[in-house]
């Protein structure tokens, strides 16, 4: 091959070899033992380098093998469909941002650092917590790192989590804590309200509890109502408190800071990121103004400083916690995070502003309540829990949900997430209008009728 758009030096090989003083590129690999040399082409790609035109064709072909849904999916479970403003896409497409590396040289990366500082600051206001890092991979890994933090602080071995937190986060948590020998203990939830069973919580918290985790709203979309009591009890037992939040819901409900929570986690996916088939997502991690917590935080943090002429500037701070310096004593192994997604969150929150976030949260609230109401009008269909909810809710059907799923599939609708044979979790946001919700309800009604008349 004598030319390729991504390999600019194919025509300079001779000159470069001459400068080096060798005759052949092979001479630069003579230290690799013959036994381990590949000596054949790798079987990757489509057998030859494709032109850009051919690549575009391949992408379109792959894309066409996916099904284009009639309306956005009615499925959430930790990641929800939302509208992404063009300004967000436009700004994160600025190649000074998206082709840059972690800002190790702050003087030449001021814009990136300021943008990340603003992300941290906007999230801090939303959560009412003082210290936010520059991002984790996703909610699940942020939760896992929060629990590992708690263990480093109090050396206790059990993490108390309610059954009604996101099960995908729970799976991630289990993986991440196995190395340190931590144990996960589950607290039951009340079958009527779908919220934490306080008696069971009180029974299970003890002197081995490193931290208590609660999710607000919880996996079923229900609001937890006894957070104050849980926080008080945990403090009394000297366990840390970790709260998982849906950031958009904070346009309406009380933030973790107001409860005196130690560590808050969540996912910024709902703040201007597309679904991406589950990644990249955007892990949020924040703590109170307390050195014990800050010193144990994982990940990068940007802070304000000044330069030699006393101008304001930004730089990475508290780097002595990180693996470059601390190696096996580091607070975490994380290096690559989700910085560009953090910038997307910052742009999104800046566009929404103080009032926009409330309006959007209200709109999501109304729409999800309309959808629940509409579904409940179908004979035999009920909401499973009697608590108030946000964005997501669980519906119980009189027929097996598989039958409903099949019917929805016929018109290319993605319904809720099946939780059991007769229940499913639905997600409704600002991208689902009345027509879309009505279509969902009508199709479900038909599916139920089909089963009942067959």
């Amino acid at each position: 091959m004598d030319k390729h758009p991504w390999l600019p030096n194919l025509s300079s090989i001779e000159d470069m070899l001459k400068e080096i003083g060798v005759n052949d590129i092979e001479d630069l690999f003579k230290d690799i033992p013959k036994e381990v040399r590949l000596n054949r082409l790798l079987n990757v790609g489509k057998g030859k380098p494709l032109s850009e035109y051919e690549i575009a064709k391949e992408i379109e072909e792959k894309s066409s093998k996916n099904v284009k849904l009639k309306v956005p999916p009615f499925i959430g479970a930790g990641i929800c469909p939302h509208y992404v403003p063009y300004a967000v896409k436009f700004i994160i497409s600025r190649s000074e941002f998206y082709t840059s590396y972690t800002p190790y040289q702050p003087e030449i990366s001021q814009g990136l650092l300021q943008a990340l500082f603003e992300y941290q600051s906007l999230i801090a206001e939303l959560l009412e917590m003082e210290v936010v890092n520059a991002s984790m991979y996703d909610w699940g890994s942020a939760l896992a790192e929060a629990v590992l933090m708690a263990n480093r602080i109090n050396s206790r071995k059990t993490i108390l989590v309610p059954e009604n937190i996101n099960p995908y986060h729970k799976e991630v948590l289990k993986t991440w804590i196995q190395g340190k020998g931590l144990k996960l203990e589950e607290v039951k939830y009340d079958r009527e309200t779908g919220t934490i069973n306080i008696e069971d919580f009180e029974r299970k918290i003890n002197d081995n509890t490193t931290a208590v985790y609660i999710q607000q709203p919880n996996f079923f979309g229900n609001f937890e109502t006894e957070i104050e009591h849980i926080v008080d009890t945990a403090k009394h037992k000297k366990a840390l408190t970790i709260m998982g939040v849906n950031p958009l819901s904070l346009g309406l409900i009380k933030p973790p800071g107001e409860y005196g929570i130690d560590i808050a986690v969540g996912d910024g996916q709902e703040l201007g990121l597309p679904l991406n088939f589950g990644g990249p997502l955007m892990g949020i991690l924040a703590v109170r103004w307390d050195m014990t917590l800050v010193r144990q935080m994982p990940g990068r943090i940007v802070g304000i400083t000044k330069d030699m002429s006393s101008n304001i500037g930004f730089t990475l701070i508290l780097q002595t916690r990180e693996q470059f310096i601390k190696r096996e004593k580091a607070t975490s192994n994380i290096t690559t995070n989700e910085a560009l997604m953090a910038i997307a969150n910052a742009v999104y929150l800046s566009l929404l502003g103080k009032e926009g976030i409330r309006e959007l949260a209200e709109e999501i609230y109304y729409r999800s309540h309309y959808a629940a109401k509409k579904l409940e009008q179908i004979r035999g269909v009920k909401k499973l829990f009697n608590s108030d909810f946000f964005e997501e809710f669980v519906i119980r059907f009189p027929v097996n949900y598989d039958k409903i799923h099949e019917k929805l599939k016929k018109i290319k609708i993605q319904g809720g997430l099946k939780l059991s044979d007769f229940t499913a979790l639905f997600c409704v946001t600002e991208v689902h209008d009345k027509d879309a919700i009505d279509l969902l309800a009508a199709t479900i009604e038909e599916a139920i009728n089909d089963v009942e008349t067959s």
Partner: protein, 508 residues
């Protein structure tokens, strides 16, 4: 040619906001729904009393603010970023078409709806197995370090399954990336460092002495962080395997040997890949990246799930390895970025990917040759060829002129180049770790080498010029003490605001 970076006195976004009647986006309100659901029924005690202190701005103001910030930033599209071990190669623009495959799709959609995505993941799994010489890959890990963590958890579970709980030591080369010991410690291992010899390679005699029944595994990268290939890799593998240890490959440095040799053929058992390094995913100023974790023979049973499989012509996410460590990320990893690597590999094909290893190695050794006569930049084992990167020591220059590796870095950025990785690996004093990659044109390498040479000359003649740099960037050299001091540390605007209001003080 004098280079200058844009410099805006750009206020914080909070300080730009002064007018309540502004909003950067309108919320689409469905009045028909509002007419049906008239009230909210959230219990009063749960309601937020005070709106969050977010700024109020029009769309234009938000856009201008962030565009100005972008102008005070530097990426590969701006110029060379020769960050050793971070592999900042060019990110081909066609990659930005890739998210068309994934963007609109929810990870829990019916598998029938996302056959295109699953097929792409399946093909990539196979390609990465082929590239690494491993039997199976999981693309569940969202970054390289998450892959490392998955890898050591696999090693741990593997030994536990075989009743070898006594294996509680993880060996790590003293030149290793900081993530290696950090990952091992997170998995509960005691970290044992393996010293390098004076050629910069693993000291086989020391290794023989260290390895015993407690050795769970050895985390190694080859080529190592000095850019040197561990020639005795087959002996190393034999020593580790002799006590049932697992040889782990840190894929961060794969770029220089891509298509030339494979970790699997060198005796490694588990490999992680950093797709944002070797496979050209943009790094986004810190991320998102993407990763892969691959394993050989019986270790594939421990890979994180799910793995895509093909059953009767259909792609499914159902494959859960028998002894899987579990899930590392909430869903399936950074699939949007997997699609970018997919495009990159389509564009290279078998012939192109072999040239990546060759051309990046050529570029590294060319740069060394261009700097051969700069006596103040010293090399360990100067006669050995380098692969992906080279580490110079500026110790002599620091001793004679007071100009350190950090000062050289600042002088480079003053000339419009991003700096190399500095002070790493820790075994080299005043280290400058340079990785040019295969995508930088020879002309750019010439410019970079000439500038580095001039900086060294300037340091000897008039060191204060270097010590005061940078001056052509948006800000001058920054005060790290002020940034980190408990009385001035300011990680958010909220802290700045509360401090001004006298509501918080020292970080205690």
């Amino acid at each position: 040619m004098m280079w200058r970076q844009a410099k805006w006195d750009e206020p914080l976004i909070f300080e730009l906001s002064n007018n309540k009647g502004k909003q950067g986006i309108l919320i689409n309100k469905d009045e028909r729904i509002r007419n049906e659901i008239k009230n909210m029924s959230i219990p009063k005690k749960l309601l937020r009393e005070k709106a969050p202190e977010l700024p109020n701005l029009s769309e234009l103001e938000v856009v201008r603010h962030f565009i100005r910030l972008s102008q005070m930033s530097f990426g590969v599209d701006t110029g060379i970023m020769p960050l050793g071990s971070c592999t900042m190669k060019y990110n081909p623009k066609i990659e930005e078409k890739a998210p068309e495959i994934t963007e609109e799709h929810h990870p829990l959609e019916d598998e029938d709806y996302v056959q295109g995505i699953l097929e792409m993941i399946y093909e990539l799994q196979n390609w990465f197995s082929e590239i690494t010489g491993m039997d199976e890959c999981s693309l569940q890990v969202p970054a390289g370090s998450a892959g490392e963590f998955a890898g050591v958890l696999m090693i741990k579970k593997y030994h536990e399954t075989h009743n070898r709980q006594y294996k509680d030591e993880m060996l790590v080369a003293d030149t290793a990336h900081g993530t290696n010991p950090a990952s091992a410690a997170m998995a509960g291992y005691k970290v044992i460092y393996v010293k390098s010899n004076n050629e910069g390679l693993v000291d086989i005699d020391i290794l023989r002495e260290i390895v015993n029944d407690k050795t769970a595994g050895f985390m190694l990268t080859n080529p190592n962080t000095l850019g040197l290939f561990e020639e005795k890799i087959l002996d190393i593998a034999k020593i580790i395997h002799s006590t049932n240890g697992v040889l782990y490959y840190d894929g961060a440095n794969l770029n220089g040997i891509l298509g030339i040799t494979r970790p699997g053929d060198m005796g490694f058992d588990i490999v992680h890949l950093n797709l944002h390094k070797t496979f050209a995913v943009p790094h986004g100023g810190g991320g998102p990246g993407a990763g892969a974790i691959c394993a050989k023979s019986e270790l594939v049973n421990y890979l994180p799930y799910p793995i895509v499989e093909k059953v009767h012509g259909k792609y499914k996410l159902s494959k859960i390895p028998k002894n899987s460590i579990g899930k590392i990320a909430t869903f399936y990893g950074n699939v949007g970025n997997l699609a970018r690597s997919y495009v990159y590999l389509l564009g290279l094909g078998p012939q192109g990917i072999e040239l990546v290893g060759k051309m990046s190695t050529l570029a590294t050794n060319y740069l060394i040759a261009k700097l051969r006569d700069v006596k103040e930049l010293e090399l360990i084992a100067p006669n050995r060829p380098r692969k992906h990167e080279v580490v110079f020591s500026a110790k002599k220059l620091a001793e004679t002129t007071g100009v350190t590796a950090n000062d050289i870095a600042k002088a480079l950025i003053d000339n419009g180049f991003y700096a190399p990785t500095i002070y790493f690996p820790p075994i080299i004093e005043e280290a400058l770790m340079i990785e040019p990659t295969e995508t930088e044109p020879k002309e750019e390498l010439d410019k970079f080498a000439n500038t580095l040479r001039k900086i060294v000359e300037m340091a000897k003649l008039k060191s204060e010029n270097i010590l005061n740099s940078p001056t052509n960037t948006a800000v001058k050299r920054l005060d790290q003490v002020y940034a980190n001091h408990p009385s001035t540390i300011t990680p958010t605007y909220r802290v700045l605001r509360l401090r001004r209001e006298g509501k918080i003080n020292y970080l205690k």
